[in-house]
Symmetry: C2
Subunit: 82 residues, 2 copies
């Protein structure tokens, strides 16, 4: 079994209004030292071992379903677990 973590965030060039709203809320809590907030999605996925290489499975999931490759980038960690 694999435990996979996937992180999906907007590309650098894409505005993140939700992150901006959170930063403004943080400033209202008097944490002026917070300079930038970007928000993304986080997926924890358990995947059984098959003959297909796990990297290919995860790449395919990210490209086809979890991320919108026009606006978003993704990265992932794969850990083998029992």
């Amino acid at each position: 079994m694999y435990a996979v973590e996937v992180f999906v965030t907007y590309k650098e060039s894409i505005l993140d209004p939700q992150g901006e709203a959170v930063r403004n809320a943080i400033h209202r809590l008097d944490f002026e030292q917070v300079k930038d907030v970007r928000i993304g999605k986080y997926f924890e996925i358990n995947i059984e071992k098959t003959e297909e290489p796990i990297e290919e499975v995860v790449e395919s999931l990210c490209k086809n379903l979890l991320a919108n490759p026009i606006l978003e980038t993704y990265r992932y960690n794969i850990k083998e677990v029992n």
Copy 2:
């Protein structure tokens, strides 16, 4: 400057219907080996150094704003950057 990553997920005991919907969509793409999907929020936050210890700042942000401690748990990584 610190680069902080915060991960907020539902507690284990809380149903995650969005994660279940994504798992079902994955099964329709014929990835039957995907057993479980849980969805969370992911924050990338840049914080300037101040006299206040960075762990206290991040704990306070998580508890007061980023996570709902009744339903959610959080964890974070703090990295010093230039």
